[in-house]
């Protein structure tokens, strides 16, 4: 890359700052108790002996953590370890059953997200909470619009620009949120928290849908927020991000705090060891041999265009081959998957399946042909959360477990049980309540839906997003298993490292086009990124132009 390093952002202009309350200044709301012991290491949030159960399941047990003011505090642990629940308790979404939560020195319990916000606590969710029909600007200032006696007045655009100076996301303030991609929606959520002058910001998997470059800018923002005395509670599975950007870390396992420590001296391995409770290696599974060049492709795209932005895409995937798509969010990775699955229509070009030209492939025909798609947003596009594990697993293969439309529940149970054992889904009940499963187990249920009958083509869009290490490794093994069994696999992931290590061949994408193809054995993350940035005609140090 080149030598031009990122310039730290100077203090925003006065207009934005005039409304900012930067922590323990005399101008803030008067706190009757505070004031006596104002030290540098003031405790922003103190959890003492907190426990929480859902029904009979105890998800948190005796949690005691001090979050220091002005620090970036990481919560790590496998999915289901309870880190998101800790965030939700501080954010006011869950009420603690036992123990106390002190926010800025005041004990609170049974308070709503609204109360939390008034106390300066904002939470940025894994499941984003925006109003899709409103614009970016309207969402950011929802509830704090510029107004005079209830009548909206001009001024939000200027405020947005001021905010943008702090955040530097390059979002169009007038774009409808419904049309934004997940990564961009996440930025809106973050801007919203910043606009609310939250003093404590809880970020649950903030980088899971961001590209490396976007994640970097988020971390720069976090550093700026920290410099202003804000406390960031950072929940994530990306240990590299955590080690690089956090001051303190709490490791959790099975609903308990394993240790609270300073980040100094921590390594990826030391964190993983504490998370899993035993030493384990971070490794990639060995890929099966790529199919011979003579093997005819299962699917082939020739110069395909689509209304969703594909611009002359050509690719092939052979049975038993894992093909990766590498590109920034919005480069058309997901769209290729959707075209192959019959979810989006081709406007020109050819789609061949088994060498046969596909005219109007619909999803239901694609499924009958043995094609499968695991979408990127498992809660919105993948799972029916009102239903249990069993119907979710059976959803795509109802014909296989029925005769004349009548279900054979016994064979269905056996099939679902087989998948639960295969993936190690926890809880292992056939009729478990999927809505309350951890991200990793939800993802396994989703994979089971297709794995229960061996698909011929498996399209995986972000298969390990928001998933803990254990589940992630299981998913990686699963990908390799499927390829060994002869399934053609299209792997889409924002994590370039994942794609490169799990694919035989990779296509680099940009703006709806494939511009480079390489064997993944010859590719590394830096080179791939360099090529992408080069292709975009921008250099890596000024990424604003790429995302806009």
């Amino acid at each position: 890359m080149n030598g031009c390093s990122k310039i730290p952002i100077s203090k925003p202009n006065g207009r934005a700052d005039s409304t900012v309350w930067t922590g323990p200044l005399w101008c803030g709301p008067v706190d009757s108790m505070a004031g006596a012991d104002m030290t540098d290491t003031e405790i922003a949030v103190r959890m003492n002996g907190v426990a929480k159960s859902f029904g009979k399941t105890r998800i948190l047990n005796d949690i005691s953590i001090d979050f220091l003011q002005g620090s970036v505090h990481a919560l790590v642990g496998e999915n289901g370890a309870g880190k998101s629940s800790v965030g939700k308790i501080i954010g006011g979404y869950y009420a603690a059953d036992e123990g106390t939560v002190d926010i800025n020195g005041e004990t609170v319990s049974r308070f709503s997200p609204r109360d939390a916000l008034q106390r300066g606590v904002a939470m940025i969710h894994q499941e984003l909470q925006l109003v899709p029909d409103l614009t970016v600007l309207q969402n950011v200032f929802l509830g704090l619009e510029s107004q005079y006696g209830g009548i909206l007045v001009q001024g939000d655009v200027a405020r947005f620009r001021a905010l943008e100076e702090t955040c530097q996301f390059g979002l169009d303030p007038h774009a409808k949120v419904a049309r934004l991609r997940i990564a961009e929606r996440q930025k809106v959520e973050i801007m919203r928290a910043v606009a609310r002058e939250a003093r404590i910001i809880i970020m649950d998997e903030p980088t899971s849908s961001l590209t490396e470059d976007e994640a970097e800018r988020l971390h720069a923002l976090i550093a700026r927020l920290k410099a202003r005395g804000k406390t960031i509670i950072y929940v994530s599975h990306f240990l590299d991000h955590i080690i690089a950007n956090c001051d303190r870390v709490t490791v959790m396992r099975d609903g308990q705090v394993i240790r609270n420590d300073s980040m100094a001296g921590e390594t990826k391995q030391s964190l993983v060891d504490s998370m899993l409770g035993q030493a384990s290696e971070i490794s990639w599974p060995t890929l099966p041999d790529a199919p011979a060049a003579a093997v005819p492709p299962l699917v082939e795209l020739k110069d395909v265009h689509s209304d969703t932005g594909l611009d002359g895409v050509s690719l092939t995937i052979r049975p038993g081959e894992i093909v990766g798509l590498i590109g920034l969010v919005g480069s058309g990775r997901t769209e290729i998957g959707r075209v192959l699955f019959g979810a989006d229509r081709i406007t020109s070009g050819a789609y061949l399946l088994d060498g046969q030209l596909q005219g109007r492939l619909t999803i239901s025909k694609a499924v009958q042909q043995g094609l499968a798609l695991v979408p990127e947003d498992r809660r919105k596009q993948g799972l029916v959360l009102t239903q249990t594990t069993r119907p979710n697993v059976s959803l795509a293969s109802l014909d296989k477990i029925s005769r004349y439309g009548v279900l054979d529940q016994r064979s269905e149970r056996a099939r679902v049980k087989r998948m639960i054992d295969h993936f190690g889904i926890v809880p292992g009940r056939v009729d478990g309540d999927v809505a309350f499963y951890s991200g990793g187990n939800q993802q396994k249920v989703l994979l089971s839906k297709w794995a229960v009958d061996k698909p011929r083509l498996l399209i995986l869009d972000e298969p390990s997003r928001g998933v803990d290490i254990g589940a992630r490794q299981r998913i990686h093994e699963f990908i390799v298993e499927m390829a060994e069994a002869g399934t053609a696999i299209l792997l889409i992931s924002s994590e370039i490292e994942e794609v490169i290590n799990l694919s035989h061949r990779g296509y680099l994408m940009s703006e709806g086009r494939i511009f480079f193809e390489a064997s993944c054995a010859d590719l590394n993350v830096d080179e791939a990124l360099n090529r992408i940035f080069h292709e975009q005609g921008a250099d890596p140090s000024s990424p604003e132009r790429i995302i806009a």
């Binding site: 426990a51 159960s53 859902f54 029904g55 009979k56 603690a96 059953d97 036992e98 123990g99 106390t100 005041e106 004990t107 609170v108 319990s109 049974r110 308070f111 109360d115 008034q118 106390r119 699955f341 979810a343 999803i363 239901s364 694609a366 499924v367 009958q368 798609l373 979408p375 919105k380 596009q381 993948g382 799972l383 029916v384 959360l385 009102t386 239903q387 119907p391 059976s394 959803l395 795509a396 109802l398 014909d399 029925s402 439309g405 009548v406 279900l407 529940q409 839906k449």
Partner: protein, 325 residues
């Protein structure tokens, strides 16, 4: 502004939670049992087979509609046209019974209802308009059609081959009650034992997930509206054969009663969850309240008021229970 509570001891909370869950799950049944017991003590004539069967018989048409409507609502839809379809089926059945054949007339009602429901479904899925709006509009159209068929007049139908459906008994049990039970079992079977039922739950629970699983979601929706229309048609025929009179204004407001019963039973208006037995319980609860008012000689003006209050309370309880999860 914000109150600060102290954490209280958690012990009884778990018990309270499970009692609350049970009450939420089987709330309707609990109220029904309470009413049955209460009314039995209040009046000797209440807890007799005759009275209970009479209640069932009278609520059979509404219950049949509510059973099929359950599938529509679980599938994420809404049907405001059942009352109007009931009207069209009533007058068509009357017309067929007099002019063509009484047995054919019995068949004509459900078939016409099915077709009208199918038209609803086609408009909803074809144009992507919300079912609430479409069925609100088609209910006006269908009601207009019903009035046009008879020119606004009533058609007396006094034909034994036709009126057995609403009037005869087998042993002690009315034919209409038997039809209701069979129809209810059919709907339960469809919902719980067939691939179609699975698809209905999936479409209502997460339409995009259903679509991405290869389910033809539009077809599933159309079929639920066909069922709902068919049920309204069947209910219309039963009603006509019972009172021996086909009138185009029949079934006014029935669509709202059916929706009320489904919601009262505890099926989620958001789609994706619910059960047929719940809706039948909802119908019975409404019917029991009415019967209680008759038996106890209470001013019937209070009947609707009471029913409304119970619906509000039931729905509010269900909502607060699901929020506290």
């Amino acid at each position: 502004m914000t109150d600060t509570y102290l954490t209280d001891k958690p012990e009884p909370k778990i018990i309270r939670a499970s009692v609350g869950q049970f009450a939420q799950q089987y709330g309707v049944l609990i109220i029904i049992v309470a009413l049955l017991i209460g009314l039995s003590f209040a009046s000797d004539s209440f807890f007799t087979a005759r009275n209970l069967l009479n209640i069932l018989n009278q609520s059979a048409p509404l219950a049949i509609i509510a059973c099929a409507l359950t599938l529509v609502i679980i599938g994420g839809g809404f049907d405001l046209s059942t009352g109007a379809i009931f009207g069209v089926a009533s007058v068509s059945a009357g017309y067929f019974a007099i002019n063509v054949d009484p047995y054919l007339a019995i068949l004509a009602g459900p078939v016409i209802g099915l077709v009208l429901g199918g038209i609803n479904g086609l408009i909803i899925t074809g144009f992507g308009v919300h079912s609430f709006l479409v069925t609100l509009a088609t209910s006006l159209v269908y009601r207009g059609v019903a009035i046009l068929i008879t020119g606004g007049a009533l058609i007396p139908v006094r034909i034994a081959e036709f009126s057995w459906l609403g009037r005869e008994r087998i042993g002690m049990v009315n034919v209409a009650v038997i039809v209701l039970v069979l129809f209810m079992l059919l709907m339960m079977f469809l919902l719980n034992r067939t691939t179609f039922g699975r698809k209905v739950f999936a479409v209502g629970g997460n339409e995009e997930a259903a679509l991405l699983s290869g389910i033809r979601t539009n077809l599933v929706k159309i079929m639920t509206f066909c069922l709902s229309g068919g049920a309204a048609g069947l209910a219309g025929v039963i009603a006509v054969s019972r009172i021996s009179m086909a009138e185009p204004q029949a079934g006014m407001g029935l669509e709202l009663e059916a929706i009320a019963a489904v919601i009262l039973g505890g099926t989620s208006i958001m789609g994706g969850s619910g059960a047929v037995w719940r809706s039948v319980s909802g119908v019975l609860l409404i019917a029991l309240i009415g019967n209680g008012f008759n038996i106890l000689n209470v001013n019937p003006f209070f009947k609707d008021l009471t029913t409304g209050v119970i619906i509000v309370v039931a729905v509010a309880l269900a909502a607060s229970a699901s929020r506290s999860r």
